[in-house]
């Protein structure tokens, strides 16, 4: 079973002076945040500075080290941290450090296309629930076999975009040439293998860069290489156990990633306690399948590998419809599982509502909110959506459990200011809250209360058949 960090364990290794330098008023409060993964032990400055805490510091670093080491690629402000995982399953503790997504470029593209693609990768962005969903790195693949060409491409990338780089070649000469120009930006070196590891390890330590160890399908060798690297003090390691997708090999890929992560987290195997990387781009090596099939496969292989513990993905396809499911799933899976999925109670505008627009009401369970909102959008009308506090529960259970009452709806309406603002006062309550309508009429004089459909998917129909007439009458 995973060893989840307890606040008391962290507290034990803190100075316990409540000095406040970390920004928390007490060491205990700071310990709780560290245990939760929202604060980092390094923020306790006295622990690191004051020599009298030397032995505590050593313990602190041991105690707080996650079973999967965090690894930083790039330099501030454009760095990406991957790994740092403490649990296998999302319900045990919020996952931290979202899977980083890289898209590839090759070194023998002409300068214009290279820069154009790199800039497009960097500026790709998709807004959802108030967040910008973006890509995180550029993977430069060496297809030319020429160290000069590769270094030149790396140089051009670093001058034109700020995303961190992954330098991909098994040839140490190629990597070295590129490191002479971008080595100070902490690119990820891909990859050390059983054949080139000595040279690659030298380069990683010389340039102080993180390095991927690739041992496709051979976990004994993967672990041996990791052990050797750790033995020399090199711990900025990313593991590449190989992404196999051809035929039925995907089953084994999933198996391998799952084994590695469980060994690290539940069996405490430190030598595999490093971020894992997968390369969904390999679907493009398959001679079979048309372009659309390949894109679909690349997308769902990426989603699968992200679910099964990949901390870093290298993609080739770059179409919005390929990336959207992946980015949205990443946003979903990295949310806090303990907080009820709720939105803030209040008024939300849909379209451009005016003083004669209808008002829909619902509870604040996030899913309800998003569905209702989507359904009102489908109805293609401008409206207000008043979200009452149902304590994060669905409308049905909150009404049944007396958590969502007529008073709460009335209160939400009153505090929204809509009472004064609107000329036409039409309120649509959810079908599942129908029994509150009588009481609401009393609490909201001057309002016309309508009972909407039980399922919000019927809102468009309701708008056509009922609401439009009512709005004219009012």
């Amino acid at each position: 079973m995973p060893k989840i960090l307890r606040p008391l364990e962290v507290y034990g290794v803190l100075p316990q002076t409540n000095c406040g330098e970390c920004g928390e008023s007490t060491c205990m409060a700071f310990a709780a945040k560290v245990a939760d993964g929202v604060a980092d032990i390094t923020q306790c400055k006295p622990l690191f500075k004051d020599p009298k805490y030397k032995s505590k510091l050593q313990k602190a670093l041991e105690v707080t080290r996650p079973p999967v080491k965090p690894v930083t690629i790039g330099t501030p402000p454009c760095q990406v941290i991957i790994g740092g995982k403490r649990v296998m399953y999302r319900h045990e503790l919020t996952y931290h450090n979202p899977t980083a997504i890289a898209v590839d470029v090759i070194d023998d593209m002409d300068a214009d296309s290279l820069i154009k693609r790199a800039k497009a990768i960097e500026s790709y962005s998709f807004e959802r629930i108030g967040q910008q969903l973006k890509l995180n790195l550029i993977a430069l693949r060496c297809v030319s076999d020429s160290p000069e060409k590769f270094a030149k491409a790396a140089d051009m990338l670093s001058k034109n975009v700020s995303l961190p780089l992954i330098l991909c070649s098994y040839n140490p000469d190629v990597i070295e040439e590129a490191l002479t120009v971008v080595g100070d930006k902490r690119p990820l070196i891909y990859a050390a293998t059983k054949d080139n590891w000595k040279e690659m390890l030298d380069l990683a330590s010389k340039y102080k860069c993180p390095i991927a160890i690739s041992s496709p399908g051979n976990l004994d060798m993967l672990k041996s290489l990791a052990s050797t690297f750790v033995g020399t003090g090199m711990e900025d390691i990313v593991l590449d156990p190989g992404t196999f997708v051809r035929g039925d090999s995907l089953a084994e890929t999933i198996n391998i990633f799952t084994m590695l992560r469980r060994a690290a987290i539940e069996k405490g195997d430190k030598l595999v306690g490093f971020p894992l990387m997968a390369v969904p781009a390999v679907v493009w090596m398959d001679p079979e399948g048309d372009e659309v099939e390949k894109k679909m496969k690349e997308s769902y292989v990426a989603s699968i590998m992200m679910t099964r513990y990949a901390d870093l993905l290298i993609m080739h396809s770059f179409d919005p419809w390929v990336l959207m499911p992946l980015l949205v799933w990443r946003q979903n899976i990295y949310t806090d599982p303990r907080v009820p999925p709720s939105v803030k109670p209040g008024v939300y505008e849909i379209g451009k509502p005016t003083d004669v627009s209808p008002v829909f009401a619902t509870g604040n369970f996030a899913l309800t909110y998003f569905l209702v909102r989507g359904d009102i959008e489908n109805a293609k009308i401008d409206a207000y959506l008043v979200v009452a506090d149902s304590e994060g529960l669905s409308v049905e259970s909150s009404v049944a459990g007396r958590r969502l009452t007529a008073e709460k709806f009335a209160e939400a309406i009153k505090s929204s200011g809509l009472d004064q603002k609107l000329k036409k006062k039409v309120l649509i309550i959810p079908g599942r809250a129908a029994r509150l309508s009588g009481e609401l009429e009393e609490l909201l004089p001057g309002w016309k209360i309508l009972v909407g459909p039980r399922d919000s998917s019927a809102i468009p129909e309701f708008v056509e058949k009922v609401l439009k007439k009512e709005m004219e009458l009012t």
């Binding site: 999302r90 060496c142 051809r246 195997d269």
Partner: protein, 398 residues
């Protein structure tokens, strides 16, 4: 002379102070027995070479042990459908569940049964379908029997989920006797088992289920769904009396799932006739709660919680609630691809969380998920990893 020996002799040559008089040189043994001595001596006598040699560290060989765990519990196997010999009329039966480890942990055991895909059929074309879905079924929308046939023969569904939407009191409110006609026609048109879905109204669904369970006695169908606000005692009794399976639908809530399971089994529903559905939110619309509840249910079941030992059902169809799946937005790319991929991704998330039975809509999404389920559930894999030149990905030209 072997190459190793030549190399070694060359080395010996450089390390001039190496003492050799105490040994008889047997060429074969030399490489093995004297290399450490050579290195030692060189470290003393050739300082420039020592720097180079110090770097020649050896690979520290390790062995990776698969992290196997023992689970006190397992998931019952549920049989869907019954052949003539078993008291039904189905040509094929389907088995789901039977897990003894988390989903696709092949290092512990390969899955016992492949997750199965049901394609949705509606008894009347009164629910609006998303564009990409509608175009796949436009020729059969009026006839559930033809629709079911197409879903199986053309689109490869493992089974059919027939949703009796017309029984919805807020839509057509058709009585059970009327709804039964569609069920009868579909059962005649196809020889695989079916899932019978109600309207979601707990009182009406109970009436419909009671009537149809008796009518199809012995067929071992699946009825979907029993909810917390239904008369659970009555629905459990009718299912066990006529030998059917029942889906218990909990609203993304593990405690509700436990309560449903306990009440239904206490009322007489056999454990191997229960399927749990913790509700599937669409990708982007709550799917992570479905994912985590499914994972928790499955892990708790394996760890011995008997109320949570049941195969899981996942209505990936709900993916179409997401506008990202169906809405025409140019910068999102063609919805003909986007929609099925959205549904497939929703289902795949469920698959990885442990779902055993999927209700789906789009033929392409169903095909993707079925193909994956087949691959992931193979008892033994055919592909040899060594035969795939994975490393070539760096130099591929695409």
């Amino acid at each position: 002379m072997s190459k190793e020996l030549l190399d070694l002799l060359k080395l010996l040559d450089q390390a001039s102070e190496l003492e050799l008089q105490d040994v008889t040189i047997e060429a074969e043994e030399l490489a093995i027995e004297f290399l450490p001595v050579v290195m030692q001596t060189m470290a003393v006598t050739a300082p420039e070479a020592a720097v180079a040699l110090k770097k020649v560290i050896e690979l520290k060989m390790e062995k990776f042990e698969p992290p196997v765990i023992k689970y006190p519990g397992s998931i019952p196997e549920v049989q869907i459908g019954a052949t003539r010999a078993e008291g039904g009329t189905r040509g094929k039966v389907i088995k789901i569940g039977g897990e003894t480890c988390p989903p696709f942990y092949r290092f512990e055991s390969p899955p016992k049964n492949r997750p199965v895909i049901a394609l949705d059929v509606f008894d009347q074309p009164i629910v609006p379908l998303a564009g990409p879905v509608k175009s796949a079924y436009k020729d059969v929308l009026e006839d559930p029997a033809e629709w079911a046939k197409k879903a199986i023969q053309v689109y490869g569904a493992d089974l059919i989920s027939l949703h009796l939407v017309s029984t919805d009191p807020t839509l057509k409110d058709t009585p059970p006797q009327e709804a039964a006609k569609a069920v009868e026609r579909v059962l005649q048109a196809v020889d695989i088992p079916i899932i019978i879905g109600g309207s979601g109204n707990p009182q009406k669904d109970l009436q419909v289920f009671q009537y149809l369970a008796e009518m199809t006695a012995g067929e071992r169908l699946v009825f979907a769904s029993a909810t917390i606000d239904m008369d659970l005692d009555a629905v459990a009794k009718v299912m066990s009396k006529y030998g059917h399976n029942l889906v218990a639908l909990a609203f993304m809530d593990i405690n509700q799932a436990k309560e449903l399971s306990r009440k239904l089994t206490e009322a007489g529903l056999p454990k191997d006739h229960l399927i749990l559905d913790p509700t599937t939110g669409a990708l982007g619309y709550g799917i992570e709660y479905s994912f985590s509840v499914m994972e928790r249910i499955r892990l708790s079941g394996l760890m011995g919680d008997e109320t949570l030992q049941a195969p899981l059902s996942c209505a990936a169809t709900n993916a179409w609630a997401a506008r990202e799946a169906w809405m025409k937005v140019d910068e999102w790319g063609p919805r003909e691809y986007r929609g099925p991929l959205w549904e497939a991704t929703t289902a795949i998330v469920g698959l990885l969380a442990g779902a055993d039975m999927f209700m789906m809509m789009h033929p392409l999404a169903a095909k993707i998920v079925k193909g994956l389920a087949e691959i992931l559930s193979k008892p033994k894999l055919d592909t040899k990893l060594e035969e795939i030149n994975y490393n070539d990905w760096i130099r591929m030209r695409v």
